[in-house]
């Protein structure tokens, strides 16, 4: 089944809120070779004016992942996960993610393009905090390989 072009413009129901934990931020920070104490020590983060340890810029992918899972499991999407290659990725921040944040992510499919047998699906996950204020938008382009 090819990728459904009618996905373009579809807005998914918001994913359940994600609570950003201190130890999860530390674990993720170690995994991406981060060394800045603002990622690890609450005191260092507070001294820099942050409400909690600051997550590395790409941490937002952990929250975004929940919304991409919604897209991949959408019955009429026609996206075969085993044929998906991550094409590009972007994060645009209004403010950094910090430990203690409760983030709610909502996915919108912004574009579906076909290139011969292949399709490119661009999906944007917008994340807001508990007050509803924008934190970060994560955008991925997924390349879905078709039969050559």
């Amino acid at each position: 089944m090819p990728v459904n072009p009618e996905l373009q413009g579809r807005v998914f129901p918001s994913a359940p809120p994600y609570l950003v934990g201190l130890e999860k931020v530390r674990e993720f920070s170690r995994a991406v070779f981060a060394t800045n104490p603002i990622h690890f020590e609450t005191d260092a983060a507070a001294a820099a004016g942050h409400a909690g340890v600051v997550a590395p810029p790409t941490f937002a992918v952990v929250v975004q992942e929940q919304t991409l899972a919604q897209l991949l499991s959408e019955p009429d999407a026609g996206i075969d996960f085993s044929r998906v290659v991550h094409g590009d990725q972007r994060f645009r921040f209004s403010r950094p993610i910090v430990a203690g944040d409760e983030l709610t992510a909502t996915l919108t499919v912004t574009s579906v393009k076909t290139l011969g047998p292949h399709a490119m699906v661009t999906a944007e996950s917008t994340m807001v905090d508990a007050s509803g204020a924008h934190v970060v938008t994560a955008t991925s382009t997924l390349v879905v390989r078709g039969d050559e």
Partner: protein, 139 residues
């Protein structure tokens, strides 16, 4: 650590250079931390069965560490306001020798209170990320 001053930067300045040594342990650690358990990132048999040259680093792991020299240079990760990459080539991580990935961070453009830092991320003499750009607020 003091924050870099926008007016003291020139397009083309190299602001950081760093080498990252990846092992299979790094991939397992990232899988656990990120929740991305795709077996092509830790199982040779699965990687081979889908025609890959070997176990690959997660693209998001490469994106994740490639920005770290910029974070260290700018002093506070909160100054990163925009970060984007294209995934152009895989990083194959040998079970014994691992993989060395180098990052060179250069001033790409100076905008109003924001510096665009361009990353050249290479493995085995070839770039693995395209158009890797970090915008840092220096106002």
């Amino acid at each position: 650590m003091s924050t870099p001053i926008l007016d003291e930067l020139t397009v083309g300045d190299v602001i950081a250079e760093r080498e990252f040594s990846l092992t299979r342990d790094s991939l397992v650690r990232y899988a656990g931390a990120s929740g991305d358990f795709n077996p092509i990132h830790y199982r040779d048999d699965v990687a081979a069965s889908v025609g890959l040259p070997g176990v690959l680093a997660h693209g998001m792991l490469t994106m994740g560490f490639a920005v770290q020299p910029v974070v260290d240079w700018v002093g506070d990760p909160a100054r990163v306001v925009d970060y984007s990459v294209k995934f152009t080539r895989p990083v194959v991580v040998d079970p014994q020798d691992g993989a060395i990935v180098t990052v060179v961070a250069t001033v790409g453009a100076l905008e109003d209170a924001v510096a665009r830092i361009d990353l050249t991320v290479s493995f085995d003499g070839k770039t693995v990320l395209g158009k890797a750009q970090v915008r840092v607020a220096l106002g």
